[in-house]
């Protein structure tokens, strides 16, 4: 079993009481500025950022840093895959305590529960490849139709069966699917198998844009079951990508020049 912080079962359980946001560093200038407001080293945005914030996003509740280890203790170097159980337990317990302090509005919250969208299809293919998960595109040129489709899919996506099992992106133009093989519909829910390197994808299943939540649940369960995750190890993946000449160019330049030794040193201070 993987023992890293964000896969720990107590942390995952506590996360249901939070709004969890994961950004792609160096992909959006405005988001880069948000991240720089949470953590930098030498005033530069780092590759990885971690924080727990108040609901308005303005106040740090725990110490921010490059990873949860900065707040809860643990490994910053080679042992990063084997975080101490006590540190992960501390993170889960702290999150439960924070959830008690910020219980949320419950049923008083107004408005529909939105789908947790990724920014665009290009990034979504890469992120889902990295997560080894399927991608579901909500595709309709008409904004009102997309909204109606989102309402149905949201009910399914946040249900116990499906929460955290797929990721979502909105698309309004067929041209957005130029890297996806097998798209035949002009509107619909398109379940996509991302390629190993997330530069392309292929259709697993197309589901009618008119499908209601009950039908979506059945169809989505079938489609997600057909997803085939990449089985290469981290190092095998990187080596295969180098050999195959697969490259990703971030939209903004990387500014992370810190060394592991420096990061460990800072963490211990």
């Amino acid at each position: 079993m993987d023992r890293s912080f964000l896969a720990n079962k107590d942390v995952v359980a506590a996360s249901r009481k939070f709004v969890c946001i994961r950004l792609a560093t160096y992909e959006d200038a405005a988001e880069n500025e948000v991240l720089k407001g949470i953590f930098t080293m030498r005033s530069e945005l780092q590759n990885t950022v971690f924080g727990i914030l108040t609901p308005d996003g303005k106040t740090h509740i725990v110490r921010s840093g490059r990873s949860p280890a900065w707040a809860f203790g643990g490994q910053a170097g080679r042992g990063i895959h084997e975080q101490p159980l006590e540190s992960m337990k501390k993170m889960g317990q702290t999150m439960e305590a924070i959830a008690l302090a910020y219980p949320g509005k419950g049923k008083a919250a107004k408005g529909p529960l939105p789908l947790p969208y990724l920014a665009d299809l290009r990034l979504a293919l890469n992120v889902t490849a990295a997560d080894r998960q399927p991608l579901v595109a909500v595709f309709a040129p008409d904004a009102a139709q997309r909204k109606a489709m989102e309402r149905e899919l949201s009910v399914v996506a946040w249900s116990e069966q499906f929460i955290g099992q797929a990721q979502y992106v909105s698309a309004s133009d067929a041209k957005e699917f130029k890297a996806v093989k097998g798209v035949t519909v002009k509107t619909g829910f398109i379940v996509i198998q991302p390629g190993i390197f997330g530069l392309e994808g292929s259709v697993i299943q197309e589901i009618s844009a008119n499908a209601k939540a009950g039908e979506l649940k059945k169809q989505l369960a079938n489609a997600l079951g057909q997803h085939k995750p990449n089985t290469l190890s981290y190092y095998e993946h990187r080596a295969a990508g180098v050999r195959a000449g697969k490259r990703w160019e971030s939209k903004t330049p990387s500014t992370d020049n810190s060394s592991p030794r420096e990061r460990i040193g800072r963490q211990r201070r």
Partner: protein, 72 residues
């Protein structure tokens, strides 16, 4: 070499978090793992935190290693 290790370790932090096999269940023949459900944009996530009053768990990482995509 330091840069190589730096990038590898930064990626490893995120990679490790999404390839868990905790709490396995069956989902139509596939193994289901319990995962955190992430909002993929700051705008979308912040709006939801403000709507619901729930606190925010935030992480970020570059989805590439040595410019090789498909890995955190």
């Amino acid at each position: 070499m330091m840069m190589v290790r730096s990038t590898l370790l930064a990626g490893a932090f995120l990679a490790a978090t999404f390839i868990s096999n905790a709490q396995a269940e069956v989902l139509k023949g596939a193994v289901k793992t319990e995962n955190i459900a992430w909002y993929g944009t700051w705008k979308g996530g912040l709006a939801e935190a403000q709507r619901t009053g729930r606190p925010i768990l935030l992480v970020s990482g570059a989805p590439q290693c040595h410019n090789v995509p498909g890995v955190w």
